[in-house]
């Protein structure tokens, strides 16, 4: 699959219909329209009341006024500049039922505005953006841009009654509430839309034109029929017509058309007035009956089309046309000959000239549609006369539309024709561009329009079901779709086909979600081997998954290669979402590696590019802010870290990307501790727990037990830390915490074994600090506690050199109370040697000592000073032998008993006990046992 871009907009939907002058100017209504300055103008009336026509006249007026004023401005000076400015530009959107997809709706609305406001940032709907999450951002950004643009703008939404999606109503309602003063919305609808109309009415924010105003007055009816349509009618006759149609514009126009072909207009009027038939039925029959058979035939057959051009009409009525052609040849008719040359465009022109409710959709006269009412009436007649032909008409329309690349419309006709296999082919081709455009709801609607039995036999459709579930994202639906697709693929697709590549990619995604990194990586590799070489987007997606999987496996080299490949694919595909995703994953990897300067540069680059394109408010960029927050936290730049945490939370306010939110929460925990705010800490830990529980995420991802344990360790509550760690799943972060616990408990060898023997803790954070960056300081602690002073010094020295280059303070500060003696030793030694590292170490020590005086510690006061954590920092840990003695003390053993049990002299036993009392800073054995429990030695 080559890299597609989102489906292009149908221009005819966002092109204002050509302004019309020839209709009777509705001066009284136009004056109202032009005079109103309310944010919302609602034109609500049944079909055929001339809503769109009125707005088209208004457009005509606006354009002509502009021309007039521009001419005047050239002639004189710029005195009329303000008037020129007050003429709004008009963005037009003709809605149809397919627009009941919020993303599609806003794509079209932005497209309509961009037509008159070039340069507007109209990118919307990234793949894998939560369905509504991105829209809030887009709407706010749109409002800001409109505010800045400052040009008067009228936003016309025609046929708003087709919109049923509550999400669209919500978005529009928000938009109208926050509209800049120079922008107004004009809604045309057959029903009152479910918007807060009464609130707006009460606040004077709403102006309305309704059926009562839209009805032609008797005078207008007369002017229309006589002056404009050139009918020779007396005022009482036009009065009868006005009464019979009740000033209904469509009725009057149909009446005028019927009267044109009448030999006896007076008789027609009398009959019409006496008839009880609905005006529409009566008049349409008249009007259609007056057309030549070819035109009648054309009208009925093309009534299945939502919009039409000559070629499409030709394709749809083709068969009959050919028959007519043959008949014409046998009859030797000249008139038919003209018809054959360009039959459809000829008939279209004819119909337009006659004002047969044919509405041009562009200025070039290529696309048209019938007036909805006229079309509905024609369709009724088609259904009545030749119901069996209808599927064939749809089939021909679908074929032509598909050939012309108008796939979305072709799908609807194929479904209407009952050609589900054809529709399925089309859907398979159109789904990817639609998904890329964020139109997940549209893809799901297409899939739902096919019989379930067909879907379950077509691998392509099943895969699209899965991709749209991934895009939503809906994990359970994805798992269901994948398991449904696999046997079907096995039956229909060769094992090395790109479709298998897609399925394997999806399975890889699912595997990583369940914590099976190695399997996920393997699946991604199998997917890449099968996907088309030029399928940049899918390759990029798989690359991101492979990066995350390789990283979770702890293979930096592999992860880096995959990340670079994913970034290259994202750049090639020019897909902003994929670029943001792949690069922020890479930035977080760099944080893990301790290369925070590079990580920062990387994340900043992505954000700056996003800013330049006006996309910086997309939720996906939260991942970049998380990386920057973590970098700032590592540097102990708390204010900057806080800014990025705030940015993350703002971007994620709609509730998407909970994993980024938990990362931000962790940084906040780190910040709260740096600030010494125990109340905030507790609140954040609770919030973290709630967030992770609500996510229903696999336990392996749930980090709150570990974060609590880590806090307990840093505050010297060893027992509580142990409790939390027992509850926590044994992951890499938990192992870091366990190592510190072991050091505190005086088991440095066990701690070292844990630190050396385990894979690197990828993506693990302890209070927002990359766990990888805690390994070296913890090893130094353990080595020192185990009596290997030289090794500890060397490990710590190397870690400090690396950290100094990056300006990374936080890992050492977090362990500050434990590390201070080691750091002091380093400091003394390096100062004496004039080592360039000395100032960095001095900075660490200064921060640590000032940290001790922060509220957190002083609040705890005496408790902290007496805490084993504090005490242990001052004394040497117990040796293994001393721990054995301690255990016997707990049993209540006397010195001679200890000596006997350990096979040592009584003097040695006594010396051990004295040392234990000294190290624990207590006076007697009872106190020693109590203290040992506090410290977590027991």
């Amino acid at each position: 699959m080559p890299t597609p871009s989102p489906a292009p907009l149908l221009l005819s939907k966002i092109t204002p219909p050509p302004p019309r002058r020839e209709l009777l100017p509705r001066s009284r209504l136009l004056a109202l329209l032009a005079g109103w300055e309310h944010p919302l103008t609602l034109i609500a009336a049944a079909a055929g009341f001339g809503k769109s026509t009125l707005v088209r006249q208004w457009l005509f007026q606006i354009e002509n006024r502009e021309v007039r004023i521009e001419k005047a401005g050239q002639a004189t000076d710029h005195s009329s500049f303000s008037i020129l400015n007050s003429s709004p530009q008009v963005a037009w959107l003709s809605l149809d039922p397919d627009d009941n997809d919020p993303v599609r709706f806003w794509r079209y609305l932005l497209g309509a505005i961009e037509r008159v406001h070039p340069g507007l940032d109209a990118e919307i709907g990234a793949f894998f953006q939560g369905p509504e999450s991105g829209l809030e951002v887009i709407i706010t950004s749109l409002l800001n841009q409109l505010q800045q643009a400052g040009r008067p703008l009228a936003l016309v939404l025609d046929d708003y009654h087709v919109i049923e999606q509550a999400a669209i109503h919500r978005g529009l309602s928000y938009t109208i509430d926050h509209l800049p003063a120079h922008v107004r919305v004009v809604l045309l609808s057959r029903t009152d839309p479910p918007l807060p109309l009464s609130r707006w009415r009460a606040r004077g924010q709403l102006s309305e034109l309704r059926a009562a105003q839209l009805r032609f007055t008797p005078a207008e009816t007369h002017a229309f029929l006589v002056d404009l349509m050139g009918l020779d009618l007396a005022p009482d006759q036009t009065g009868v017509l006005d009464a019979r149609t009740e000033g209904w514009a469509a009725g009057l126009q149909l009446a005028a058309l019927s009267l044109r072909g009448q030999a006896d207009p007076a008789g027609f009027i009398t009959q019409f007035a006496a008839s009880h038939r609905t005006a529409l039925d009566y008049l349409i029959d008249e009007v259609v009956a007056q057309q030549p058979p070819t035109v009648q035939h054309f009208l009925l057959q093309t009534s299945i089309l939502d919009r039409m051009c000559a070629e499409l009409c030709g394709a749809v009525v083709e068969e009959e046309g050919r028959k007519m052609k043959d008949e014409a040849y046998t009859a030797g008719s000249d008139q038919a000959g003209t018809l054959i040359l360009h039959p459809s465009s000829f008939i279209l022109q004819q119909i337009e000239r006659q004002n047969l409710f044919l509405i041009p959709l562009d200025a070039e006269g290529v696309w048209y549609r019938y007036h909805h009412l006229f079309r509905a009436a024609l369709r009724q007649r088609l259904q009545r006369q030749v119901p069996t032909q209808i599927p064939a008409l749809h089939r021909r329309a679908a074929a032509w539309l598909a050939g012309a690349g108008l796939t979305a419309e072709a799908i609807d006709h194929a479904v209407a024709a009952g050609d589900h296999a054809v529709a399925a082919d089309l859907i398979e081709a159109a789904a990817w561009p639609a998904l890329l455009g964020g139109e997940t709801a549209t893809v799901q609607r297409w899939l739902d329009s096919l019989p379930a039995a067909l879907c379950s036999t077509r691998p392509g459709l099943l895969l699209w079901r899965a991709w749209s579930a991934l895009a939503l994202p809906d994990g359970p639906a994805l798992a269901r779709a994948v398991s449904e697709a696999e046997p079907v693929l096995a039956a229909h697709e060769p094992p090395d086909s790109p479709r298998w590549g897609e399925l394997l990619a999806l399975k890889g995604w699912l595997a990583r979600d369940s914590g099976m990194a190695a399997q996920s990586y393997e699946l991604s590799m199998q997917a890449l081997a099968r996907l088309a070489p030029d399928d940049s987007i899918l390759r990029g997606m798989v690359g991101v998954n492979a990066t995350l999987a390789a990283w979770a496996m702890g293979d930096y080299g592999l992860a880096r290669t995959q990340a670079e490949a994913a970034i290259a694919h994202a750049d090639r595909a020019q897909n902003s979402f994929l670029t943001a995703l792949s690069r922020s994953v890479y930035a977080q990897m760099l944080v893990d590696e301790g290369q925070i300067t590079q990580a920062e540069a990387h994340a900043r680059l992505v954000l700056e590019a996003a800013e330049a394109r006006g996309l910086a408010r997309w939720p996906i960029y939260a991942f970049c802010h998380v990386a920057l927050a973590e970098v700032a936290l590592l540097r102990n730049q708390t204010a900057i870290a806080r800014q990025h945490v705030e940015a993350t939370r703002t971007l994620l306010s709609s509730g998407v990307f909970k994993d980024a939110l938990t990362s931000a929460l962790q940084v906040q925990i780190g910040l709260a501790r740096a600030n010494g705010d125990p109340a905030a800490l507790e609140a954040l830990l609770v919030q973290l727990e709630q967030t992770q529980r609500a996510m229903g995420m696999p336990a392996v991802e749930q980090s709150w037990h570990v974060q609590r344990a880590w806090l307990a360790l840093l505050e010297g509550r060893a027992e509580q830390a142990a409790e939390q760690l027992d509850l926590a799943r044994v992951d890499s972060a938990a192992r870091m915490a366990r190592a510190l616990l072991l050091v505190i408990q005086g088991r440095p060898d066990a701690a070292l074994k844990l630190l050396d023997g385990q894979p690197q803790p990828r993506f693990a954070r302890l209070h927002g600090v990359a766990a990888t960056q805690l390994i070296a300081p913890l090893r130094a602690l353990a080595l020192s506690a185990g009596g290997q002073a030289a090794a500890a010094d060397q490990v710590l020295g190397a870690a400090l050199s690396r950290a100094a280059v990056e300006g990374m303070l936080r890992p050492f500060l977090d362990l500050g109370a434990h590390l201070a003696p080691l750091l002091e030793a380093q400091n003394v030694k390096r100062k004496a040697q004039n080592d360039p590292l000395a100032p960095f170490i001095q900075q660490l020590l200064t921060t640590i000592s000032s940290q001790r005086g922060t509220p957190a510690m002083t609040d705890l006061g005496e408790a902290v000073l007496r805490s084993p954590f504090y005490a242990l920092r001052l004394v040497e840990p117990l040796s293994p032998r001393e721990l054995e003695v301690l255990a016997l003390l707990v049993e209540g053993a006397t010195n001679p008993q200890i000596a006997a049990r350990l096979i040592i002299t009584e003097r040695t036993a006594k010396k051990h006990v004295t040392n234990i009392l000294g190290k624990l800073g207590v006076a007697n054995r009872t106190q020693a046992i109590t203290r040992a429990r506090e410290v977590g030695l027991l």
Partner: protein
Amino acid sequence: MRYCVRIRGHLDLEWSEWPGGLTIRHDPDGTSLLHGEVPDQAALYGLIIRLRDLSLELIAVTPSTPPRKRLRGRLRHSRTSI
């Protein structure tokens, strides 16, 4: 559920696109009565929207069977048994 929908004007009798089994009666007062079985409320609303889209004037919508059909059936049954 059976419904009666009254609209202004005499609607063509042969329209076949009405949801299944609706009959149309032309009344002398110049109104039409659509009458028949409507599967559920969604179908009823769909019918009303179709009338709207044809710009027809809606006069009344009334159920022609009480909503609790089963109850009435039981009453009728008890009456015959007496």
